[in-house]
């Protein structure tokens, strides 16, 4: 669970760490809008290389970001396949007639089993997946002995390929940008930035300070609660609660054995926290000062200019 990078601050130093969180939040919003204004793949590829350059400027490890992408790899693959299969515009690139037969069904089962078996060795997982997909493609097209049935044709259009690459790259850029934000900004800074940005909302009756406090406390406690849940699970497993098997009735009991301590510990923690805050003179609703005030400096200016330029450029490109 701890390996998920999205939404996690990683301590470090570098250009993006020194920026004011407000600058980062606003810039990211504008850059994303700009990204959605782009229309063709060349522009998008340029945008992609720009974001890689940004990573290098910020001295963020690209490997680390790629590792963080792992959980959404499936999403990327699905987006890709979906576009390629269902977009039917432009010229026809591939037209492969396919059909099912007993031999092909049997061999699909066989290579699936082989794939799952090899996947146990953990390495080259992704290559194996590709090999499996390629295998299915070949089997469906050519590997037939005996009668065939349910014929269909597998068609790929130019526009489909283009769109699928387009969508995937756009998704990649979005994720990279937001990962840069969350990796380089402490949750507390992030909420402080949000608080300042949302201050004008007071007009419609939303108190941004309370809002920011709630968010920052929740964020602060997510890892703690996860840790605690893990410990409770171990403690109950030690008493023979086996969460993987058992009848439904046993299962219910085991889930209760997790939930009750979780809630009790969470309530206890929140009480303690409230006491600790009050004993340090926190009064809800009263204005508070900060130890670190946010400052807008030269790098923020540069970043804002860069964002403005990107935004303007994408509007110009869109209009032309």
């Amino acid at each position: 669970m701890k390996n998920i990078v999205i939404g996690q601050f990683v301590p470090g130093s570098g250009f993006f760490y020194k920026l004011d969180p407000r600058t980062k939040i606003v810039s990211i919003v504008f850059l994303m809008v700009a990204l959605f204004l782009l229309e063709n793949i060349t522009q998008l590829l340029i945008a992609f290389s720009v974001s890689v350059v940004l990573l290098i400027i910020g001295r963020l490890s690209i490997i680390r970001i790629i590792k963080g992408l792992k959980p959404i790899f499936i999403l990327l693959i699905f987006t890709f396949l979906f576009q390629i299969l269902f977009n039917q515009e432009g010229t026809l690139l591939v037209n492969q007639s396919m059909s099912l037969s007993y031999s092909s069904i049997a061999s699909i089962v066989a290579i699936t089993v082989l794939w799952r078996y090899l996947a146990h060795f953990k390495r080259f997982n992704f290559l194996l997946l590709l090999a499996w997909i390629a295998g299915i493609y070949l089997i469906l097209s050519y590997f037939h002995y005996g009668p065939t049935f349910a014929p269909f044709s597998f068609k790929v259009y130019e526009k489909g390929v283009e769109m699928s690459i387009f969508v995937v790259i756009r998704l990649l850029i979005i994720i990279t940008l937001s990962t840069v934000l969350t990796i380089t900004t402490k949750p507390t800074d992030l909420t402080q930035g949000l608080e300042k940005l949302l201050r004008p909302m007071k007009v419609i009756g939303m108190n941004s300070e309370d809002f920011a406090l709630i968010i920052s406390i929740s964020l602060r406690y997510i890892p703690t609660i996860l840790d605690e849940a893990n410990k409770i699970m171990l403690a109950q497993a030690s008493r023979g609660a086996d969460f993987s098997e058992g009848k439904l009735k046993d299962k219910v009991k085991q889930v209760i054995s997790l939930l009750v301590p979780m809630f009790i510990i969470a309530f206890k923690r929140s009480e303690d926290l409230a006491d600790a805050m009050e004993s340090r003179n926190f009064i809800p609703g009263k204005p508070r000062t900060r130890i670190y005030e946010l400052k807008f400096n030269f790098s923020d200016l540069m970043t804002s200019l860069f964002t403005a330029a990107c935004f303007a450029l994408s509007i110009v490109l869109k209009v032309i």
């Binding site: 701890k2 996690q8 030690s238 008493r239 086996d242």
Partner: protein, 286 residues
Amino acid sequence: MGIHFREVSHEYASYQVGDYQAINKITLSIEDENEFICLVGHTGSGKSTLAQHMNALIFPTEGEVEINGKIITKKRDKKTNYNLLRKHVGLVFQFPEYQLFEETVEKDIMFGPLNFKISFEEAKAKAVEAIHLVGLNESYLKRNPFNLSGGEKKRVSIAGILAMDPDILVLDEPTSGLDPFGKRQLMELFKNIQKETKKTIVIITHDMDLVYEFANRVIVLNDGDLVYDGNEEDLFKKEELTKWALGLPETIKVLRRLKDQFHLDINPYQKTVDQAYEELKKVMTK
């Protein structure tokens, strides 16, 4: 059969501080009868991590642990029933809050035995037996575990494991948060259990007086390394004690001081106050 560690390391994966090796290449054997082991070491030295390997709650990232003939390695083996190992080795956690959840103490103690498919009646009998073992009376059985004091909660959580009747009992800091009398009482209790049932007992503690008086084997961890495994007598004669952030038992401290101050010819290695007194009396009357 017992528990055998072979070059066991465990590395916690943590994104924020990087990976952290909590124990390094630990090799050690624990028989399943007649041992009374104290596991000591400074805060964060890896004691709890080591203890959690003893009933396969966590898996080594390197090396292997053999529990009751079953080999535990990095990889989960679908054929092994890890749950049975936990009946063989009972582990009581450091904080009772993590395990108490039922509305009565009795039901809570019965949770463990029932998980191992023991009949309801039998589990009930075990609960009565276990509550007596930890020095509480039967009136506690009907009480709500959340309204107990810290020390009572601790005892109930220990009873919850005792009721499972494990061959090896591992206790993570069972005496923390108890009053001095309660600590001693609990240690006497473990000693008695060990004498009567011949079970092996492993206790994690920071209290050197108790270690000296009760243990017949001490294992010392320092920064994740096993630095000492032997009897309690030799441990406190070691020079490295301070390096391992361990202190001396009070009796040794006092007697050594007296010995140095008044140039007495005494043996400072006495386990209890009574023994120390006898030793002093012997010298004084001379």
